[in-house]
């Protein structure tokens, strides 16, 4: 699977330019009287199913969620199908709670830590893949694909076993390595160590996507570019910074964007490993919204937190989205 976004589809661009010739030049449109109009409608028709699905299946729940966030919605209202508007009451309540701001802060740090680790390690492993011989590359690739393909619920369960207090293989190893206080360590007992396990799990599962795609991307770098660089007397490091990196930059941006979204939204991993515990200290925004809304059956408040969660994610990704918008503009 590859990530393609604006900057990266330079290959597609010339094609697009050519397609600007109104209608489709040969064959297809001979029959119709007004080729340009038909050509103009085609993209919209092609996009119609996807847009309809998005509007109905995502737009509707979002609007519904927005409406719920202005309601007093608890079990009584849910059961009796009552609609009790309470203005911005839910938002006022959520925003005035210090707990909410702690969770926002925690979510941002959590996302940043994961994404930095994933991108740095993923890039390094991707570059390593490019350097390896055929057999070693296949070996590493198999390892990466195995980690990538583990469904998160299964992966989380396996990590619980690896880090189990008793008979867990991690504690045993640490003990044998001379760190005897870890022999019966309860990894889920404190905020930091629970997060360590979660971060390891997420990074382990996310690196393959970055590494494999980055490797695939490096194989498409034209050899001539390196030759030209070495003719200019560039060393290994220089050719990396002057050829490899610029070539991969759009790819890295796009992947970072996706990883930010995925890590920010990570639900299964955190929830299944310790339900946001101990003492709710590992709740990130999606977990917080779920626990307050569904867990505490405070559905209106939960909807408000959901809305704020989306808002925070928008703010975090706004830089990239603006960049995309600008690039597309240049293209027109």
């Amino acid at each position: 699977m590859s990530v393609q976004t604006q900057g990266t589809d330079t290959a597609g661009e010339p094609a697009v330019r050519k397609a600007r010739i109104p209608g489709v030049p040969r064959g297809a449109d001979h029959a119709t009287g007004s080729p340009s109009r038909r050509g103009a409608a085609a993209p919209y028709l092609l996009l119609l199913p996807a847009l309809l699905a998005t509007v109905v299946l995502l737009g509707w729940p979002l609007v519904k969620n927005g409406m719920l966030s202005f309601q007093n919605l608890n079990p009584r209202q849910l059961i009796q199908h009552l609609t009790e508007w309470n203005g911005v009451g839910n938002y006022r309540q959520v925003l005035s709670e210090p707990e909410f701001w702690h969770v926002v802060e925690r979510t941002v740090f959590f996302t940043a830590a994961n994404v930095v680790l994933i991108m740095v390690l993923g890039t390094l492993i991707g570059l390593l893949l490019a350097r390896l011989g055929k057999r070693m590359r296949l070996l590493l690739m198999v390892g990466l694909v195995l980690a990538w393909a583990m469904p998160p619920i299964a992966a989380t369960t396996v990590y619980q076993w690896l880090f189990a207090q008793r008979f867990g293989v991690v504690n045993w190893t640490l003990d044998k390595l001379g760190w005897h206080s870890m022999a019966d360590h309860n990894w889920l007992g404190s905020q930091f160590s629970t997060f360590s396990v979660v971060v390891l799990l997420i990074v382990w599962q996310s690196i393959p996507f970055v590494a494999i795609n980055l490797y695939a991307a490096t194989t498409t770098i034209p050899k001539e570019l390196y030759e030209a660089a070495s003719l200019d007397g560039a060393g290994a490091r220089q050719s990396f910074t002057s050829v490899t990196l610029p070539f991969l930059r759009p790819f890295l941006y796009a992947t970072t964007f996706l990883e930010v979204i995925w890590v920010f939204k990570a639900f299964t991993q955190i929830f299944a490993i310790n339900q946001g515990g101990p003492d709710r200290l590992t709740e990130t925004l999606p977990i917080y919204a779920f626990v307050e809304g569904v867990g505490n059956q405070h559905f209106g408040v939960g909807a408000a937190i959901s809305f704020l969660t989306i808002l925070v994610l928008l703010v975090i990704t706004s830089y990239y989205l603006r960049m995309v918008l600008k690039q597309e503009e240049d293209e027109l």
């Binding site: 064959g27 199913p49 299946l57 198999v142 393909a149 583990m150 070539f247």
Partner: protein
């Protein structure tokens, strides 16, 4: 001299270490599932299952309705992946090959859609589905899973479509194909690895989805495997052999699918389907 030896060896050595690091948890899952309980709770880990037992798997499969859940999971996952691929292919074709007003807005729309945190929308979705009398059915699951994977599928496929050389399509049309024929005969075969690669994300997402089915389908006959796995875990949390057997069973189809599809997909990628 010495340095160059290290220089030659370290990539391979690192690769081996990394392989172990990435593969070990998966290995340990299968190994634990196959070991008798005595070997699982032993003071020193038994690294290789020597007394292989299938007892844990039997226990895992023994759950009520297990096979119904398997059928449900497969149905919902396959359908939503196919739907999303079909819908996304049209959209991707338009976005990659055509010029029209609002194109960039639409691309950003799909990016935004990709950001939707589904877990926090489940009450809204629940109320919508409930008020339309669609609870305890696989249909809402299928359509919502389709939507969950659709945005990324569109964005990814768009890259693959764009990477198919326009000249091929034009050449086909010169040969008298209509645009549709050109698409079916020329572009589509070239897209196959891309479609496979793209489908992986959908498979893993739909197969793993949990909060939505939990709230929508109370009828066991209409539930899916993630619920079985999590309930199994709660009930047998201390029985790591059985828990790992259940996890293995749950992960196996996706693992096989990945190993199978990824080989084609990666060769597709490296053959230049991706243009950096």
């Amino acid at each position: 001299m010495n340095r160059s030896l290290i220089g030659r060896i370290w990539p391979g050595a690192t690769a081996v270490v990394l392989f172990v690091g990435f593969a070990f948890p998966v290995y340990w899952m299968f190994a634990t599932a196959l070991k008798p309980t005595g070997d699982i709770i032993s003071e020193n880990p038994v690294w290789f299952p020597t007394n292989v037992t299938l007892g844990h798997f039997e226990k895992a499969i023994h759950a009520d309705h297990f096979w119904t859940l398997v059928v449900n999971s497969v149905t919902v996952t396959v359908l939503s992946v196919v739907f999303s691929l079909v819908i996304a292919l049209f959209a991707a074709f338009a976005l990659a090959r055509m010029r029209f007003r609002g194109r960039r807005g639409l691309i950003v729309t799909f990016m935004l859609a990709q950001m939707a945190p589904w877990e926090v929308l489940i009450i809204a979705i629940y109320m919508i589905v409930r008020d339309n009398d669609m609870l305890d059915s696989l249909v809402p699951l299928t359509v919502f899973y389709t939507m969950m994977v659709l945005p990324l599928t569109v964005l990814t496929l768009r890259g693959y479509v764009a990477a198919v050389p326009k000249d091929l399509e034009e050449a086909a049309m010169v040969d008298g194909c209509t645009r549709t024929q050109a698409f079916v005969r020329v572009i589509f075969p070239l897209l196959a690895p891309g479609l496979m690669a793209t489908s992986l994300f959908g498979f893993i997402t739909a197969w793993n989805e949990f909060p939505l089915v939990l709230i929508l389908n109370k009828d066991v006959e209409k539930q899916t495997l993630p619920l079985w796995l999590s309930q199994f875990q709660t009930a047998f949390g201390d029985d790591w052999g059985a828990t790992m057997a259940a996890s293995s069973l749950f992960a196996l189809p996706i693992l096989i699918l990945f190993v199978f599809l990824q080989r084609k997909a990666v060769s597709g990628l490296t053959d230049g389907a991706v243009k950096g």
